[in-house]
C-alpha cells in the first residue's frame, strides 16, 4: 500500500526512529527533535560530528522543523513533500533500514511450539521499453517443504512480529538453504514471466526495428554520417526501446511462523 497521508507517514517514520515529534496535522507542521543517529543520517553535516567526536564532546542534534504544506513554509521551516530532496533522503533511509530482517511470530503459547522458517522477499519488477511500468510483488517460500506463495506480505501483515524468540517457542532449522530458496523463488518468477504475453515488449521491439530501419536508410544515403556515429546512434536507440525486465529485491528476510 502506498503512502496516502504524508504527514502520518512522517510521524511514524520519526517515531520509530526514536525521535520526539510535535505534530500539527492541520498546519502540516512537524517539530522533530532528532537523535544523534538521525541527525547524522539526515542533516548532512559530517564535519560537525567528526569534530565533536575528535574533541570527545557530546554533540547537539538539531531540531528539524518542517511542514507538508507549501504555503506554511518559512525561512526556518522547510517544505517537505514527495519529490523534495529531504523526502528522497527519508525514503532512502527507510529502504536502507528496512532491508534485511529476521522475525518471529509473536505468540504466547502454553506449551512448546515449533516455528517454521519462511524466506520472504519483496521484489520490484520493472518492465522497461517504450512505456514503463513497475509493480511490487511479494513472495515467500517455506524452507521445509518448498511451498511458494504469492502476496506474502499481505499475509504477514495480519500477524504480529517480534525480533526475539517468544517463550516456549523453538525455531526449526531450514531444510532448504536460504540461497537455494531464493533461487527457487527466482525460478518461479521467471517461469511466470515466460508464460505471460508481453505485448508491451513486442510493441517496443517493433518500434526499435522501425527506428533502426530509418537510421540504416539515412546511413546509406547520407555521407555526413560516419560509422562511429552510426553505431552510437544505434546504441542510443537500443537504450530507449530494447525491452527489459528487471528484478530488484526491495527487502526480505527469514520469518518464523507458528503454523506448519
Amino acid at each position: 500500500m502506498a503512502i496516502e497521508n504524508l504527514h502520518e507517514f512522517l510521524v511514524t517514520y520519526f517515531t520509530i526512529n526514536h525521535c520526539q515529534v510535535d505534530s500539527n496535522q492541520k498546519d502540516g507542521t512537524l517539530d522533530v527533535r532528532l537523535t544523534e543517529e538521525m541527525d547524522e543520517r539526515l542533516m548532512n553535516r559530517p564535519f560537525y560530528w567528526q569534530y565533536v567526536r575528535k574533541l570527545n564532546q557530546v554533540g547537539t542534534p538539531l531540531e528539524l522543523k518542517i511542514t507538508t504544506q507549501y504555503n506554511k513554509a518559512t525561512k526556518d521551516r522547510s517544505y517537505l513533500s514527495f519529490g523534495t530532496e529531504r523526502f528522497n533522503k527519508i525514503c532512502h533511509d527507510t529502504l536502507l533500514k528496512g532491508r534485511f530482517t529476521k522475525l518471529y511470530q509473536s505468540i504466547a503459547p502454553r506449551q512448546q511450539t515449533a516455528l517454521y522458517p519462511w524466506l520472504i522477499i519483496n521484489v520490484k519488477m520493472s518492465y522497461i521499453g517504450k512505456q514503463q511500468e513497475e509493480e511490487l510483488r511479494s513472495y515467500g517460500i517455506h524452507l521445509i517443504n518448498g511451498t511458494i506463495i504469492d502476496h506474502a506480505f499481505e499475509w504477514l501483515e495480519q500477524k504480529e512480529w517480534t525480533t526475539t524468540i517468544p517463550d516456549f517457542c523453538y525455531p526449526i532449522t531450514p531444510l532448504i538453504q536460504m540461497r537455494n530458496g531464493y533461487l527457487r523463488i527466482e525460478h518461479f518468477i521467471l517461469e511466470q514471466l515466460q508464460a505471460n504475453q508481453h505485448q508491451w515488449a513486442e510493441a517496443s521491439y517493433q518500434h526499435l526495428q522501425e527506428e533502426i530501419q530509418l537510421l540504416n536508410y539515412f546511413k546509406e544515403r547520407e555521407q555526413s554520417l560516419n560509422e562511429a556515429h552510426y553505431l552510437t546512434e544505434k546504441e542510443n536507440l537500443k537504450a530507449i526501446y530494447q525491452p527489459k525486465i528487471s528484478l530488484q529485491v526491495i527487502n526480505g528476510g527469514i520469518f518464523y511462523l507458528a503454523q506448519p
Binding site: G83, K97, L225, I245
Partner: protein, 543 residues
C-alpha cells in the same frame, strides 16, 4: 524478440551475511515502512505523470502537462519544444526531466544553455523541481553520474570536448537550439556526435521557415525521419499544399509548438504607444547632412550612421571615430557642436511620467552609457544590462532592478532569457530591424507570470529612417499587437528571408526618400496581405 532480463544477484548474499554476522536487522515496523515507501515510489502503468504528485506546489498550465505527456509517451523523449516565447518551455523541460528522474531513466544528463542562463537554469530546476544540478566551472568532472549544466562554448573546448564525447548521457537538453541549425558548424557536429538516449531541443524561433534548418534540427533528433538532405531539399523545395502538409505531419512527430492564442491562459493586454520626437533644427540639419553625405555611397554604413544618430550622438560618434576619412572628421566636428539628444530628453520626461519600473531597450552600447548618465543627472536610478555581463553580474543587476532601481537599460544582447515579469513598462528607445528580436524583448515582460497589462512605448524621430520603419512598416503590419509566430513563416513564404536585410537593402538602394517610402509601403502591403490570408485560412481550418 528478445527481452533483456536483469536479476538481483546481490540481495541474498547481503541478507545471509547480515544474519550470519548478527548485524542489526530491521524490526517489523522498519520492514513494513520500507515496503510502503517502495510501493509509493513505483511507476504505475497509466499514462499519468508521476512527477505531478511530487510537484504539487507548481500550478502547471494544461498545455505544459500535455506537452510533457506527449514528449514522454508519444515521442519517447526525443523532441523539439518550440513554444512561443513566454509559455514556459523551461517548465515543460523541467517537468519532463523530473518525470524521467523519478522513473529512474535519467541519472546522467547534460544541459547545454547559453552562458548567461546557466545560473537561472540551475536555480529554477532546484527551486521548482528539486532537481540537483552541477554547474560546469573551471574543472568540471564529466565522468560523474549527475546532471551537468554547461555553456556550449565551454563544452566544445578541449579537453572538455573529448571528455564529453566519451560519456553516455541519458538525456541531452539544449536551450536556444535554433543556434544549431547549421550542420556545417562545429557546434552542430559536436552535438550530433554526443551519445544520448533522450534529447530535448528548446527553441522559441519557429524553424519552419528554412527547409535546411528544419532538416538539420530534426536530423539531430531522429536521423532519417526527413530522409537524406539532398532528396529532402529537392522534394520540398517548391512547396505545394500537399507537400507542406506532409512535411508538417512529419515534423509534428518530433515537435511540440504551443501558441499563445491556443492556450487557455488569460493574457494581459498590450498597450502600444508611439512617441514621436521632433529633432531640433540643428539636429535635423545634421541628419540631412548625414543623409546627403552618404547618398551616393552604396555601402551599408549609411543606414548604420542614420540609425545611430537617431539613437544618440554617442552611438554615431563611436562608429565615426573608428574611421579616419575627411568626411568622418567633418561629421565628428559637427556632431560635437550638438546639444543633448532630443529623444533622450523626451525619454527622461516619459520615465518621470510613468513613475514606475521600466525597461529601456537600445541597440547601442554608447547610447546605454549615455542614457544611464543622463538619467542619473535627473535623479533617476538605473542599472545597465548587457549580454556580455558575467552570469553573477546579470543576476545581481536583475536583483538590483527588482529591489532598488527604477530603470533597467538593456542592450540587445540582454534580451534573451532574463525574466522580468515584475515590470510592465517597456520602452523601445530604438528599434531593431529584426521582428523576432522585438518579440524577444517584449517576451521579457509579457510572459507567463505577468499580472498587469503591458505598456510598450516606441520612440520614433519624425522624418527620419526610424519614422519610416516604424510608421510605414511595423505599425502597418501590426507588429507589436500580434504575436510574431506567423510572421517569420510569412516572410519565408514570400521568399523574403530576413526583414533586416530587406530594409537595409531598401534604404541603400533608394535614390530618394520618396522611393524608399514607396518601397517600404509596398513591402508592408505585401506582408499585411499575406498575414490576412493566413488568418483567413487559419480560421477556416479551425472552424
Amino acid at each position: 524478440m528478445h527481452i533483456e532480463l536483469s536479476r538481483d544477484l546481490e540481495f541474498i548474499d547481503h541478507l545471509l551475511e547480515g544474519i550470519d554476522q548478527n548485524q542489526t536487522l530491521a524490526n517489523w515496523k522498519h520492514f513494513k515502512l520500507a515496503y510502503h515507501v517502495a510501493d509509493t515510489l513505483l511507476i504505475p502503468r497509466s499514462n499519468n505523470l508521476k512527477a505531478l504528485d511530487q510537484l504539487q506546489h507548481i500550478d502547471f498550465l494544461p498545455h505544459q502537462t500535455d506537452t510533457a505527456n506527449k514528449v514522454i509517451h508519444e515521442m519517447n523523449g526525443r523532441a523539439i519544444l518550440a513554444d512561443e516565447v513566454g509559455l514556459g518551455k523551461t517548465i515543460e523541460a523541467g517537468l519532463i526531466l523530473k518525470e524521467y528522474i523519478l522513473r529512474g531513466l535519467i541519472k546522467k544528463a547534460l544541459i547545454i544553455v547559453p552562458a548567461s542562463l546557466v545560473n537561472q537554469w540551475a536555480s529554477e530546476l532546484h527551486e521548482k523541481f528539486f532537481i540537483q544540478t552541477t554547474i560546469a566551472k573551471k574543472k568540471p568532472v564529466w565522468t560523474n553520474d549527475d546532471i551537468m549544466i554547461t555553456s556550449i562554448d565551454l563544452a566544445k573546448r578541449e579537453p572538455h570536448r573529448q571528455a564529453i564525447l566519451e560519456q553516455t548521457y541519458d538525456l541531452l537538453l539544449i536551450d536556444e537550439a535554433h543556434k544549431l541549425k547549421n550542420n556545417k558548424t562545429k557546434n552542430y557536429q559536436f552535438v550530433q556526435a554526443l551519445s544520448k538516449k533522450y534529447c530535448l531541443l528548446l527553441t522559441a524561433t519557429p524553424i519552419q521557415n528554412k527547409l535546411n534548418d528544419v532538416f538539420n534540427l530534426v536530423t539531430l533528433l531522429k536521423p532519417g525521419l526527413l530522409g537524406d538532405q539532398q532528396t529532402f531539399l529537392k522534394r520540398f523545395d517548391k512547396p505545394t499544399r500537399d507537400l507542406d502538409q506532409h512535411l508538417q505531419r512529419l515534423i509534428q512527430k518530433v515537435m511540440v509548438r504551443n501558441l499563445r492564442h491556443e492556450t487557455v491562459l488569460d493574457w494581459t493586454k498590450r498597450h502600444i504607444k508611439t512617441i514621436s520626437v521632433t529633432f531640433t533644427e540643428e539636429e535635423y540639419a545634421f541628419y540631412q547632412k548625414l543623409e546627403q553625405a552618404t547618398i551616393g555611397d552604396q555601402s551599408i554604413n549609411k543606414t548604420l550612421y542614420l540609425r545611430e544618430f537617431c539613437s544618440s550622438r554617442e552611438a554615431l560618434y563611436t562608429t565615426l571615430m573608428k574611421e579616419d576619412s575627411q568626411l568622418t572628421k567633418e561629421l565628428v566636428a559637427d556632431l560635437e557642436q550638438l546639444p543633448h539628444h532630443s529623444k533622450a530628453i523626451q525619454l527622461v520626461e516619459l520615465i518621470k511620467d510613468i513613475n514606475d519600473k521600466c525597461i529601456v531597450f537600445t541597440e547601442y552600447r554608447a547610447t546605454q552609457v549615455y542614457l544611464q548618465w543622463l538619467l542619473k543627472e535627473n535623479q533617476i536610478s538605473s542599472v545597465p544590462f548587457r549580454g556580455g555581463f558575467k552570469r553573477g553580474k546579470k543576476d545581481w543587476m536583475k536583483q538590483l532592478f527588482q529591489e532598488q532601481a527604477q530603470v533597467l537599460i538593456a542592450t540587445e544582447a540582454g534580451g534573451e532569457g532574463i525574466n522580468l515579469q515584475f515590470c510592465n513598462h517597456l520602452i523601445n528607445y530604438d528599434l531593431p530591424w529584426n521582428p523576432m528580436r522585438i518579440e524577444q524583448r517584449i517576451g521579457r515582460i509579457h510572459r507567463f507570470g505577468q499580472k498587469n497589462d503591458v505598456h510598450i512605448y516606441n520612440f520614433s524621430i519624425e522624418k527620419t529612417i526610424e519614422d519610416h520603419v516604424l510608421q510605414l512598416l511595423y505599425n502597418k503590419i501590426h507588429l507589436f499587437e500580434r504575436i510574431i509566430g506567423h510572421l517569420d513563416q510569412i516572410l519565408a513564404e514570400l521568399n523574403l528571408g530576413s526583414l533586416e536585410k530587406e530594409i537595409t537593402q531598401m534604404v541603400c538602394e533608394s535614390k530618394t526618400i520618396g522611393e524608399m517610402k514607396v518601397k517600404m509601403n509596398n513591402l508592408a502591403e505585401v506582408i499585411d496581405y499575406a498575414q490576412e490570408e493566413e488568418n483567413h485560412n487559419g480560421n477556416r481550418e479551425s472552424s
